[in-house]
């Protein structure tokens, strides 16, 4: 499957809360086939301080409309600039990059776990699972109720459980403490979010012998395996997050 570099037109910049937004892009060509967990390297124009591309998970794809979405949280100058883009602006991206989440076997009990903006690749994965006859549970954690994003979208693909750190909605605490984890016996967990949260979920999965895949985020130079800057330590040595990942099974990671 070929990687592409091209400029896509922004057809919507939807503000979700004070620091999260969704860029929806339209491609005039037929979109390449993309798999959940893959990402794109996005070029931020116009500033010497945003010299390199930024990697973002593919959040949602609509092949019929030739559109795709990125869920982005403002974290620095690059994402700040992206947040100001408007309908009609062009965005240059290299995609689809990286590996993807593996598909579960039939009848496996599946949980998707996301924290904060790490929920980004899980909507694409949730829809994919739904289309392939799986019925995942989805556990999402946010700082507080105002930070909850895309809740209704996740509701369409499975049962959604929530935690907030302040208890303003859902269970109070972190996703790794949610009661659903002790009530249900999951066979597979797909997880994305802050590293500390993924490690906690990974530890839960190890203790309960659950197959767990996490989508990692590291600083990247190129996104295509040429610079070797985005390494992650694994039992198989240093691997590139961009080409060997971003999805890794926790049994391979040195955590």
């Amino acid at each position: 499957m070929g990687k592409r570099i091209e400029s896509l037109k922004i057809i919507n910049n939807q503000k979700l809360n004070k620091d999260s937004f969704i860029l929806e892009l339209w491609c005039k060509e037929k979109l390449p086939e993309m798999r959940p967990g893959q990402f794109a390297e996005i070029k931020v124009k116009g500033s010497p301080e945003t010299f390199l591309r930024r990697p973002f998970s593919i959040h949602d794809v609509n092949y019929g409309e030739n559109t795709l979405k990125f869920l982005i949280q403002i974290a620095g100058k690059g994402t700040e600039a992206l947040s100001k883009l408007e309908k009609g602006d062009m965005l240059n991206i290299i995609y689809p990059l990286g590996n993807s989440f593996s598909l579960p076997e039939s009848n496996q009990r599946i949980l998707l776990v996301g924290g904060g903006c790490g929920v980004a690749p899980l909507l694409f994965m949730g829809k994919y699972l739904d289309e392939n006859g799986h019925h995942p549970d989805i556990l999402l954690g946010f700082r507080n109720s105002e930070r909850i994003i895309e809740y209704d979208e996740y509701m369409k693909v499975g049962r959604v459980f929530l935690t907030t750190e302040d208890g303003s909605r859902g269970e109070k605490g972190f996703v790794s403490e949610h009661t659903i984890l002790s009530e249900q016996n999951y066979d597979r967990v797909y997880c994305c979010g802050p590293e500390v949260m993924m490690k906690a979920v990974g530890e839960y999965c190890r203790q309960n012998d659950i197959d767990c895949e996490v989508s990692l985020e590291t600083l990247m130079g190129c996104g295509i395996g040429a610079c070797l800057c985005c390494i992650v330590s694994t039992l198989n040595g240093n691997l590139c997050t961009c080409t060997d990942g971003p999805v890794f099974n926790i049994k391979d990671l040195i955590w």
Binding site: I5, F51, C227, L228, N238
Partner: protein
């Protein structure tokens, strides 16, 4: 039709656009984006005798108009290179050059001897300028006597084209270029990255694991250009210019200053098609200016 070819001794390159070691993997990473056989040459990843895991994460930091890296020569070693990588890269119809690195002179010699027997590798780039390894690398390139002894030792065992890659982290790079030439180098390439550093103010710690790293990108271009100009006036062997070349105009500046060829590095991270775009832009420039041969503009500002 503009003539774009150049030679290092009797080794012909169809055009003067090469890709810099460590920024182009083994070429195949770019197959989806460009036809690598269009390039004058590719310089594949820094290779060592033994496999190297490289430095811990984080290995990079973005800096204004550039980036710092501290990969630390992660590679699978010469044995895997010979058995697995060489058969793949020798399919490219371009000059495939291997960048070699060692901790001791004997490492460089052993590598050069082994690569000498690989028929599809017409040249090596002797990396005595990597700033991100504790032993070897830049320590050879910043000491005139070491530069002399490593170049001499490799020259004695390597019969094909020897390119010495110079570090900018010296007071007078010309001295090192002259030593390389005196010891039989067929070409010099410059510059490797500039030793630099970044600190994360919010985390209150160095941005990369090794604290210091190599700066590349447009930020280093004026320094690289100055050094290429100085070296090109001082040596007779071809000079390959490297440093922050993002587009054809940047490349042209290096030719005008005296480079016979250029390497595209960090630009390939931002646009994987950068090398081919630069090649096309050089050709258009020469046509626009009514030159028939790129050699007419090499060192033009000195004429």
């Amino acid at each position: 039709m503009v003539k774009l070819g150049f030679n290092i001794g009797d080794l012909h390159f169809k055009n003067p656009v090469l890709t810099a070691s460590g920024t182009f993997g083994y070429g195949s990473e770019f197959d989806d984006f460009i036809d690598i056989s269009r390039l004058g040459g590719i310089i594949v990843k820094g290779t060592t005798l033994e496999p190297r895991e490289g430095n811990p994460s984080p290995r990079m930091a973005e800096t204004p108009s550039g980036m710092l890296n501290s990969v630390g020569l992660q590679n699978k070693g010469i044995e895997i290179f010979e058995k697995q990588i060489y058969p793949c890269i020798s399919k490219y119809k371009t000059n495939v050059i291997v960048n070699i690195n060692g901790s001791y002179i004997k490492d460089y010699v052993a590598l050069a001897e082994r690569i000498n027997s690989l028929s599809k590798i017409p040249a090596i780039e002797l990396n005595i300028s990597c700033p991100n390894v504790q032993k070897g690398g830049m320590t050879f390139g910043t000491d005139p006597a070491s530069t002399r002894s490593v170049t001499k030792a490799v020259r004695a065992v390597y019969s094909k084209k020897l390119i010495v890659k110079l570090t900018p982290n010296v007071t007078d790079i010309v001295e090192f270029a002259r030593i390389a030439e005196e010891e039989g180098a067929d070409s010099v390439s410059l510059i490797n990255t500039l030793l630099g550093m970044a600190v994360d103010a919010s985390e209150m710690k160095p941005s990369i694991s090794t604290v210091t790293g190599g700066l590349s990108g447009p930020a280093v271009k004026p320094v690289a250009l100055r050094m290429v100009w100085q070296v090109a006036r001082a040596v007779k062997i071809p000079v390959i210019g490297i440093g922050g070349i993002m587009n054809a105009d940047d490349a042209i500046e290096f030719f005008l200053a005296g480079a016979s060829a250029i390497q595209v590095g960090t630009a390939s991270f931002i646009d994987p098609r950068a090398s081919v775009k630069i090649l096309e832009g050089i050709e258009q420039y020469l046509e626009r200016k009514s030159f028939s041969d790129i050699s007419e503009i090499v060192g033009y500002i000195n004429k």
